[in-house]
Symmetry: C2
Subunit: 325 residues, 2 copies
Amino acid sequence: MTAVQVAELYGPVAEDMVLVEDLLESTKNVDLPPLKRMLDHALEARGKRLRPALVLLAGHLGDYNLNKLVPLGAAIELLHTASLVHDDVVDGATSRRGRPTANAVFDNALTVLLGDYMFANAAEMVTRTGSLAVTRLFALALMKMTSGELDQDAAAFDAGKDVQHYLWRIGGKTAALFANATEGGAMLGNCDERVIEAMRTYGYSFGMAFQIVDDVLDFIGDETVMGKPVGSDLLEGTITLPGLLFLERYPKDNPIRRFILARRDRESRLREAIEAVRNSECIDASMEMARDYIRRAQEAIAFLPESETKRCLIDLSEYVLSRNS
Amino acid sequence: MTAVQVAELYGPVAEDMVLVEDLLESTKNVDLPPLKRMLDHALEARGKRLRPALVLLAGHLGDYNLNKLVPLGAAIELLHTASLVHDDVVDGATSRRGRPTANAVFDNALTVLLGDYMFANAAEMVTRTGSLAVTRLFALALMKMTSGELDQDAAAFDAGKDVQHYLWRIGGKTAALFANATEGGAMLGNCDERVIEAMRTYGYSFGMAFQIVDDVLDFIGDETVMGKPVGSDLLEGTITLPGLLFLERYPKDNPIRRFILARRDRESRLREAIEAVRNSECIDASMEMARDYIRRAQEAIAFLPESETKRCLIDLSEYVLSRNS
């Protein structure tokens, strides 16, 4: 996405996103040279900053206090980045979005400590919101995230898990932090309890759809746009929604199971499995579940009076379904 | 140490330490079976709980509110344990105090996530103190700890660092968390600013001495009591105070430098280096620096009126100098 497109997506808060950027940038100012080099590398790749944008938008529904909202937005983005840094160590990944990972440039040992430092810095930053309740939510979100990640790693190459289990896992791994962004933003905006609750549901459902689309793209995405090969999840033994639906619907002689059990010809088995799922109705069925979550997100905020912010939240939720990377 | 000796050391707060133990125990109650197994393992080895005891003692100088002090004590112990879990991954350590490390039993990937979960749980626990200021201090302490660890790892096998640099590093790696325990405990006890400041100095100086003694024991300790071989630090390339003093005083043809540069016969070079330092005056010189920090700790609290708590804080500081494991 270009800067113009982002500005369109983030509507009333687009211009203030630079404050989040500045605060993130300031975290690189450390005295220790090896840490500085590592932070420069980890924070160089800029994502779309979806989570901080959601913090600001949620806060925009109430008292729009940037002195509180910007630290929460930056803290959540920093936490998200730190978790990617550790995930890459855990997965032994050497590139992400076309760039070498921190563990590929430095080493695993230093990269574990880099992630720890970023977690700590994120925790310090969230205390700048002045809200103990929001700080507490933030810590709880990290507990859910790591539980989800741990479960994914522990259940790798296990074809016996079901869709329910998948939804629990991505609820922790991904949706918890989106929910933290929107709920926390609304809390810092001193919104009514009903609005805070609605924004929590919006963020959680948004995050669920976001992860499902991500998992669908791992089957049908364009490798050059995504910056990673198709089938990366399955290669690591992570069976996501399209694969689980496919296993459920075609229990006999299933190419996913064949890949999971394969000791030889893993590459061609992987290609067969990806191809089979891609050509099945399970892709559409997965996207229908994502659409369902987006409907829930929109329903949750339907009662809000019409505003540019509400419009923007609805548009953003639609964007999740249309993204291709 | 036996339970009786601990009770003697922790005086007026000894009986309340069971509350810290119960709260730590409760963190194992998680739904996810692989996480539960890992938490059971990581929390099985019980240390002396020095840090939580210092939290309670500091709080005992003011309003002794266990509803606040116990969560801080447990949070600090959990943070300490999480950092050991990650350190063992970073160092590739297979045993600690005679028990296999988490990364040896599970694998590095899961162990990184285990540590992350424990950090998050510690952060959640510290918010139960109800104090945003204490929560903030806690996050800052973790930033200092990881900076110190990162520096140690980045400076491994570098014989060009000096004593000043070593003191900065252990200030982050070790003393910051001790200072957090005593300062945070005094804050939660609503102590006067002067007492809070004194307890920060006490905890910091206590932690500096604690680490120096630890580093001396790596040269002269009894392997069976310590549960790890002598020279473990140097083997990993970490040059601690006795070695730095030895390098400074004997710049020519130094066995420490010979080991650091050695590509062959590393085992016998290590033994030579350890032996040379052990037989030098650098052990005494290091212990004299530790004693000096303990003097500072005691001076910091000298103005406090006499009490059982003050007596206990002084005795504990003396214990640091006499410990052998």
